[in-house]
């Protein structure tokens, strides 16, 4: 019995070792193109299920709403009241439809007004954990998506930078938002024209940091100044709004300033995004 236990324990240890080595190998090779292809192929497969779950959720949500509506109607005592409530329901539906139409018109209008060629996309998922900040959209390689394409969103009629395409599957892509620590954006203050580098502070921090701003700019920068992309790196075209200056950190012994920038986009209420189609 003890021999069997010993053999079983040994086998568990060997399998544990193999799995750990495999995980570490995958981690080490993550920057390798071959490994990235495995990841993007996998993304294509699992995002199919992600889309299916989204559709199911929408269906269940609408079903539950319908059942509640039915129960409410049955509880009405008079036919007249029931009829009025029915019309009220219809009116509510129309208002909802009008809201949706207006939202879609706004999106269409923005899509046409944007000076860059773009592809509208819908968010179908976010990160499965709380450590990373993934946004998954319903457009992929078949829709012309490619790695590093800039992504913007429009909120309250104002366009703002969301991030860039990180990996591309067949019909879905993953977006790396600007608040991720691995995302760097060449930026410029719109009024004073001073340049800097915007980078994220990680999941949970909704503000980003603009570093390497010339210390001489201290007297020319105001709270609320707009920060835009400078177009100095090859990923983001110039002139896209990033955010507004929230605070300024100036240390006497440093030659550059550090600005805290509040993004234009509220990441918690995004529904549609626009992927800017850039040429190679």
């Amino acid at each position: 019995m003890s021999v069997r236990n010993s053999v079983g324990g040994h086998r568990t240890g060997v399998v544990f070792g193999v799995l750990i080595v495999l995980s570490v190998l995958l981690l080490s090779l993550s920057s390798n193109r071959g490994s990235f292809r495995v990841k993007t192929a996998g993304l294509s497969v699992v995002s199919t299920f992600q889309g299916a779950f989204k559709s199911t959720a929408d269906f269940l949500s609408s079903t539950v709403t319908s059942v509640r509506e039915l129960g409410r109607l049955r509880s009405d005592y008079s036919a007249l009241l029931e009829r009025v409530r029915h019309y009220e329901g219809m009116e509510s539906d129309i208002a909802e439809l009008q809201h949706e139409v207006s939202q879609l018109r706004e999106i269409l209008g923005f899509s046409q007004a944007l000076q860059y060629r773009n592809v509208p996309a819908q968010i179908i998922g976010k990160d499965p954990g709380n450590l990373f900040s993934t946004i998954t959209i319903d457009k992929g390689r078949l829709d012309g998506m490619r790695q590093n394409m800039p992504v913007v969103a429009v909120q309250d009629g104002e366009p703002g930078l969301v991030g860039k395409i990180y990996s591309v599957g067949r019909r879905s892509s993953q977006v790396l938002p600007i608040f991720d620590t691995g995302n760097y954006v060449a930026a410029r203050l719109q009024d004073s024209r001073y340049e800097g580098l915007v980078s994220g502070q990680g999941t949970g921090h909704r503000s980003v940091t603009m570093r390497y701003v010339n210390a001489q700019a201290r007297n020319e920068i105001q709270y609320g100044d707009l920060v835009i992309t400078s177009g100095m790196n090859s990923i983001y075209p110039k002139g896209i709004h990033i955010g507004v200056v929230e605070s300024i950190q100036a240390r006497p012994y440093e030659t550059s300033l550090e600005l805290t920038v509040r993004p234009i986009v509220d990441f918690s209420r995004m529904e549609y995004l626009f992927v800017i189609v850039t040429e190679d």
């Binding site: 495999l22 995980s23 499965p128 990373f132 993953q174």
Partner: protein, 169 residues
């Protein structure tokens, strides 16, 4: 064992996919409970380290595909969690309330430590300081409070109990 590992891995993978959209509705301060971790803890405690680590590895790979994390990150964390939780197999008395809370609390802490260490070793900035963030504390509380409910629900699922019998052979 093979069948139960496959079924459990599929359940864990499904939960990972659900976490990306459905579960966002119950997020507190943008933090969702780690259902994969809770189910993996339950499964590993019921069946041992071998099935726990394999199911953890499989679920971790699916999470890596759904996330911008480097491929292998979640696989490594979940494999170690599955292995460690499995070490308590047949060694813990599971009362319906307190033991699930304590088990999941400890495992979530382990997850934070392993993730931070992995982030430091492989230079993954976004997870390096995850252990000391307020988001981690919210997740710790959220996971622990959900544990008794989920453990009770999992007790009703057949395949996990079947595994308990076959794995003891």
């Amino acid at each position: 064992m093979t069948q139960s590992v496959i079924i459990t891995t599929a359940i864990l993978a499904g939960l990972a996919v659900i976490k990306t959209n459905l579960l966002q509705a119950i997020a507190i301060g943008g933090v969702t409970p780690d259902l994969v971790l809770i189910v993996l803890t339950y499964y590993a405690q019921k069946t041992g380290s071998m099935p726990g680590q394999i199911a953890g590895f499989g679920a971790g790979i699916v999470e890596d595909l759904l996330s911008v994390s480097p491929l292998g990150f979640h696989a490594l964390v979940r494999t170690i969690i599955g292995f460690l939780a499995g070490l308590t197999h047949n060694k813990m008395f599971l009362d319906p309330i307190f033991m699930p809370i304590i088990a999941v609390l400890v495992v979530t802490l382990f997850k934070g430590v392993i993730a931070s260490l992995t982030g430091s070793i492989f230079g993954i900035d976004s997870v390096r300081a995850s252990l000391v963030s307020s988001r981690f504390l919210i997740e710790l509380a959220y996971n622990s409070l959900l544990a008794p409910l989920l453990f009770a629900l999992l007790g009703l699922i057949g395949p996990l109990h079947r595994t308990e019998r076959t794995s003891s052979l």
